[in-house]
């Protein structure tokens, strides 16, 4: 039965649907303070039982140069954000586990928290033994003298923190048999979880097996190793019973490592015809309370993408991440790409207004007719052919007259670095496939079956794509960064070609019959160490009522996806991502007060878009083949990059007010 047939019957097996015999439920006691000394803690498992810090790998891991900045598994002597794990309790029943939280006694001495980037820059260091609140700071590009260009524009922008909020919260079951730790988990990256658990708990990698349960969405929040995972694994080993932890929504809002939370100061130089001659930028990321998260590398990733699809010859960017008393910043769909596009496209609109040029004209004149490597390290393909056509297809000129449309150009850089693995087994006429990075709503099985059919001529109904399982492959990376159809797809193609050779050497010749009557196994790890672009352009129109409420009327987009392997899913992902982009602009934000208390308490506060917020969607798929063997390009994050840019510009034009941040509140738009 196909995946979606199971899911519409409620017959999926998400991690909370799995029950192991003799299982304990875990509940986590969390810090009620943004910053405090933890004078003592009693009850449950706590800092007195396990002194360890979160290690990790994968998308949620930004690396750690200073061990003093590591996220402790249990708070050690201090707490640094509301929701930080302090202790964990266990019971046979979930309700009783929650009751047992009352048994945890923690004594705190409150300290003044650091809640903003400015406070972090100027205030005392959060952590003892450190001199500042910087996690990373580096320059990108090369210094240049101010060009003698007549137009110089400067501005400052910000994007608020957003919680990823997949509908299924985080969760896992850890089970230890005395020698081996088996983990069932809702995740984007079984290998990152395995590597992280093994290194943090000092276990041999062969003693850890991580199996993916059906995973109910992630949007970046399920690739990192979290303290709760380590606690559950540690408890399973200590109590010799399986331990299940399923987070509540309020825990997800407080402690799941939300995304965005970035500020940008931009200064550009341009000629009268709109050609940008130089770009200076400063990117400041609110990385939260500890190093090691995605926040530690996101300033660099945002910085390198600042010139986007434009051929700008001079650029110099200072990329900085600072610590505040909030949960560590993690990747949220786009993970740095939407921030870079927001800062850049806001400046392009500013330039269009300054020169009284069309927003399309000022953009097009800066696109390139040849491949281009930016001073910041971004490699782009010739962008003018795509964008020239996109502006026509989107009917920008026409729509812009009547509706004051907003326009955005972007390039999505798929995270194909690191490559991906695939394994194909043939036995008894059936084909079983495993991937290093697995689906959590994207239907990887569709491209796997399609590519195997093309490469090997085998019927799709004998192919099964199995769930992620670290015991079935030597290594793997994960599903994030718009990479799966590209790199997991390329790995499937390579594994299929290897299989074909195996059949040829055994049987003399490849035929489907020869393949299916044998037993074969083919595993590859494919790594294409190149930058891969997907171009996209989005047009949005809005109406604003007298209360300042914005209604997005239309979102139209042109997306180059290389090759459409699963057209229905592509359309669905574009629409879903469009709604997330609209959410960022109009509704979504994590709000803390000055004391660091989390004011965003449920999904309603978090501002998830609802069905009534849907605009009219117009989607155009462009298939400009990539250099990958199956010609795919990345897609998943594309709409979250392009949509906010276009919607913000449409709001700006409809309201007559300059927009410099997201979300945009109705009260800001009142006449």
């Amino acid at each position: 039965m196909s995946e979606s047939k199971l899911l519409v019957r409620g017959a999926g097996k998400y991690v909370d649907d799995i029950k192991l015999p003799n299982m304990l439920y875990m509940a986590v006691a969390r810090s009620p303070h943004a910053r405090a000394r933890l004078l003592s803690v009693k009850g449950g498992l706590n800092q007195n039982d396990l002194k360890a810090a979160v290690g990790g790998g994968g998308e949620g891991w930004g690396g750690l140069t200073n061990p003093a900045l590591a996220h402790p598994v249990f708070a050690q002597d201090t707490v640094n954000y509301v929701g930080q794990p302090v202790a964990a309790v266990f019971a046979d029943d979930r309700y009783i586990a929650e009751d047992k939280l009352d048994e945890v006694e923690a004594e705190y001495e409150k300290l003044k928290p650091i809640m903003t980037i400015d406070e972090a820059l100027l205030g005392e260091p959060l952590h003892a033994g450190t001199k500042s609140n910087f996690i990373m700071q580096r320059w990108l590009g090369t210094e240049f003298e101010d060009p003698k260009s007549p137009v110089v524009l400067e501005d400052e922008f910000s994007v608020a923190r957003i919680v990823n909020n997949p509908l299924e919260p985080r969760g896992l079951i850890a089970d230890y048999d005395g020698s081996k730790l088996t983990v069932y988990i809702s995740t984007q990256a079984v290998f990152s979880i395995k590597d992280g658990l093994a290194s943090t708990l000092k276990l041999d990698e062969s003693a850890v097996q991580v199996i993916q349960a059906d995973t109910g969405g992630a949007f970046g929040s399920k690739s990192a190793l979290y303290p709760e995972y380590i606690i559950a694994a540690y408890a399973a080993m200590k109590y010799k019973r399986p331990v299940k932890w399923i987070e509540s929504r309020s825990e997800h809002l407080a402690a799941s490592q939300p995304g965005r939370g970035v500020r940008g100061k931009m200064k550009i130089f341009a000629d009268k015809d709109g050609v940008v001659t130089g770009w200076r930028g400063e990117v400041l990321v609110d990385a939260g309370a500890f190093g090691g998260s995605a926040g530690s590398m996101s300033p660099f990733f945002i910085g390198m993408q600042l010139t986007g699809p434009y051929g700008i010859e001079k650029a110099h960017v200072l990329a900085t991440a600072v610590m505040t008393n909030k949960p560590p910043q993690g990747p949220y769909r786009g993970a740095g790409r939407p921030e870079a596009a927001f800062f850049r496209e806001r400046m392009m609109d500013l330039l269009a207004d300054e020169l009284k040029m069309g927003a399309d004209e000022v953009r097009l004149i800066n696109t390139t007719t040849e491949n281009f490597k930016s001073p910041l390290g971004l490699e782009i393909e010739a962008s003018r052919p795509f964008f020239g056509q996109a502006v026509l297809d989107l009917k920008y000129k026409e729509k812009s007259k009547s509706d004051k449309a907003g326009l955005g150009f972007f390039v999505l850089l798929s995270a194909i670095w690191g490559g991906e693995s695939a394994r194909i087994d043939v036995q008894s006429g059936k084909i079983n496939v495993w991937l290093g990075g697995n689906q959590h709503g994207q239907e990887h099985y569709v491209f796997v079956k399609k590519l195997l059919n093309e490469e090997l001529g085998i019927p799709q109904d004998i192919v099964t794509l199995n769930k992620g399982d670290t015991s079935m492959l030597k290594d793997g990376v994960g599903s994030w960064g718009s990479r799966s159809a590209v790199v997991a797809g390329a790995a499937v193609v390579a594994a299929a070609r290897k299989l074909k050779k195996q059949v040829e050497s055994k049987e003399g010749k490849y035929t489907v019959e020869n393949l299916l009557r044998g037993n074969y196994s083919s595993e590859v790890y494919e790594n294409q160490n190149v930058q891969l672009n997907s171009f996209g352009a989005v047009l949005a129109t809005v109406k604003i009522d007298k209360f300042g409420l914005v209604n997005v009327e239309e979102c139209a987009g042109c997306y180059d996806i290389g090759r459409a392997l699963n057209p229905k899913m592509i359309e669905s992902q574009i629409i879903g991502g469009t709604m997330q982009g609209i959410g960022q602009v109009l509704y979504e934000e994590v709000v803390y007060d000055e004391e660091g208390n989390l004011l965003t308490r449920n999904l309603f506060d978090a501002g998830l878009p609802i069905a009534e917020n849907m605009p009219k969607f117009t989607i155009q798929i462009v298939e400009h083949p990539s250099k990958m063997p199956h010609h795919a390009r990345g897609l998943g994050e594309a709409p979250t990059i392009g949509v906010p840019v276009a919607v913000v510009r449409a709001i700006e034009r409809a309201s007559g007010k300059r927009i410099r941040h997201t979300p945009v509140k109705p009260q800001e738009l009142l006449k």
Partner: protein, 163 residues
């Protein structure tokens, strides 16, 4: 905690349970009866992933105690397919890409089931409004609205599946 005898029907089958009064209906369905198709995603009646029908009305099962279901008839996602045949709504959600990760899907289908049981035509705007108590983070709702309309068509061709 003192337990309370509670009897109700789920998907046509009678149950008699001794329940702690504080247990939410969603916990009773998932943990006591093993009907894990009803999902729990927000604990706060925001998301609708736990929607079931109670005496024919769509109810978020995290907003009701199990003991409050005493004497009632409950329909969950597991009760829709008949003799292995998917309900038209289930077929429609597959056909019209009404899902990606599938976590909100049972709740979406149950709310839609209630909507279609009202036996009248809804405009697109009304469908969106009625789905506004159910959150989906993946699809952007378009496929879900299309699924509901498509199911309505499938059912009117067959003379109706919802009694």
């Amino acid at each position: 905690m003192k337990k309370v005898k509670t009897t109700f029907k789920v998907n046509g089958k009678p149950f008699e349970l001794e329940l702690e009064p504080r247990r939410l209906l969603v916990s009773v369905l998932r943990e006591d009866l093993g009907l894990t198709g009803t999902h729990n995603a927000c604990d706060s009646t925001n998301c609708g992933a736990c929607t079931v029908l109670v005496d024919g009305k769509a109810v978020k099962s995290c907003t009701m105690f199990g003991v409050q279901a005493n004497g009632k008839e409950i329909l969950t996602i597991e009760g829709l397919a008949k003799d292995g045949d998917l309900h038209p709504l289930q077929k429609a959600f597959i056909e019209k890409q009404g899902l990606q990760c599938g976590f909100c899907t049972p709740g979406m289908i149950m709310t839609s089931y209630w909507m279609l049981s009202q036996n009248r035509d809804f405009s697109d705007e009304e469908i969106k409004r009625m789905l506004s108590g159910n959150l989906c983070r993946c699809t952007g709702y378009y496929g879900i609205v299309e699924s509901v309309k498509y199911a309505k068509n499938l059912m009117s061709k067959k003379g109706g599946d919802i009694e």
